[in-house]
């Protein structure tokens, strides 16, 4: 079964990582939720709505990081024809789409009490909405072909074409007058946020990340199995 050799090595690595990432999520997420809801003070100006930040911001970080990961694996897939890279992209997309949706919805829930509006068409919100469309478009494109490889390759091109949106999201609050507040963590000069708020934020972010890794591994394993299935079916059909 030489055609499974490379993916088999990948499979062995991720299977070894899985318990660690799952364990990390099982620890970090509950701790994060505790710190966010109980173990941190309300904000001087925003009151308890600041707790929404502890899910909204990490979700936003995930939305952008996952897309960036997909762009990297798409580039690897296109340049080196790496079969596993294609599957990683495909497996990551639904996770990114869900985190983007969480970011948008929790953002609305935070915006209504704080800004007085559920939505505003400023640069930050619009570009994150575009990100959601890119995720959904990718998923639609990859699943629109009977030939799974063709779908994955076309999707890789789409991810790279849309990647210009990620720096736009990141710098939109600097380049334009937006209602959305400017960066207070990922900026030159270090975070301006208080440690009591930074802690739940970082723990949640790490929890989301390890959760992402866990779900990604599960999905990639499923994709590898599906590919084995397709190869076997093809072999049977031509037998």
């Amino acid at each position: 079964m030489h055609r499974y050799a490379n993916p088999a090595r990948f499979l062995r690595i991720v299977t070894a990582v899985l318990p660690w990432s799952a364990g990390a999520s099982a620890v970090l997420l509950p701790v994060g939720f505790y710190l966010a809801l109980l173990g941190s003070p309300p904000d001087y100006q925003q009151g308890d709505t600041v707790r929404i930040m502890y899910v909204h911001v990490p979700a936003a970080w995930m939305a952008m990081s996952i897309y960036s990961l997909m762009a990297a694996s798409s580039a690897v897939a296109l340049v080196w024809r790496h079969p596993v890279a294609e599957l990683v992209t495909k497996a990551a997309a639904p996770i990114g789409a869900v985190f983007t949706a969480v970011c948008l919805i929790t953002g609305s829930l935070w915006g209504e009490p704080m800004w007085g509006t559920w939505w505003v068409w400023d640069a930050r919100l619009t570009s994150v909405l575009v990100l959601e469309f890119l995720y959904l478009g990718y998923i639609a494109l990859v699943n629109a072909f009977d030939d799974a490889t063709r779908g994955a390759r076309a999707g890789a091109v789409l991810v790279l074409v849309g990647f210009v949106n990620v720096p736009i999201i990141k710098f939109s609050v600097d380049w334009w007058n937006t209602l959305h507040q400017p960066a207070s963590i990922m900026r030159l000069g270090g975070p301006t946020i208080d440690i009591h708020m930074l802690a739940p934020l970082l723990v949640m972010a790490l929890g989301f990340t390890s959760f992402f890794v866990t779900v990604l591994i599960l999905r990639v394993r499923a994709e590898l199995t599906l590919r084995k299935l397709r190869v076997l079916r093809l072999a049977q059909a031509t037998a």
Binding site: T49, V55, T106, L109, F211, T225, T238, A239
Partner: protein
């Protein structure tokens, strides 16, 4: 915070904070459940296919010479 009531009230913002956390939790659960289901479905399909192939192998090898796809 002075009591359980205050905690649930979230300073008057309960209608915003709790749905936000509920959505987040629901999203995480959804991601995990669909990933596990996808893996289980794929493995089941593969097992069925390999099972059928194994049976066909056994039948075929009794009346066909070697040279099957492996």
């Amino acid at each position: 915070m002075t009591g359980a009531g205050d905690f649930w009230a979230m300073g008057g913002y309960a209608a915003f904070v709790w749905p936000a956390y509920a959505i987040t939790l629901a999203a995480l659960v959804l991601l995990l459940v669909t990933a596990l289901r996808a893996q289980r479905q794929a493995e089941r399909a593969l097992a069925m296919l390999e099972g059928a192939r194994g049976r066909r192998h056994a039948r075929a090898s009794s009346d066909k010479p070697a040279g099957d796809l492996a």
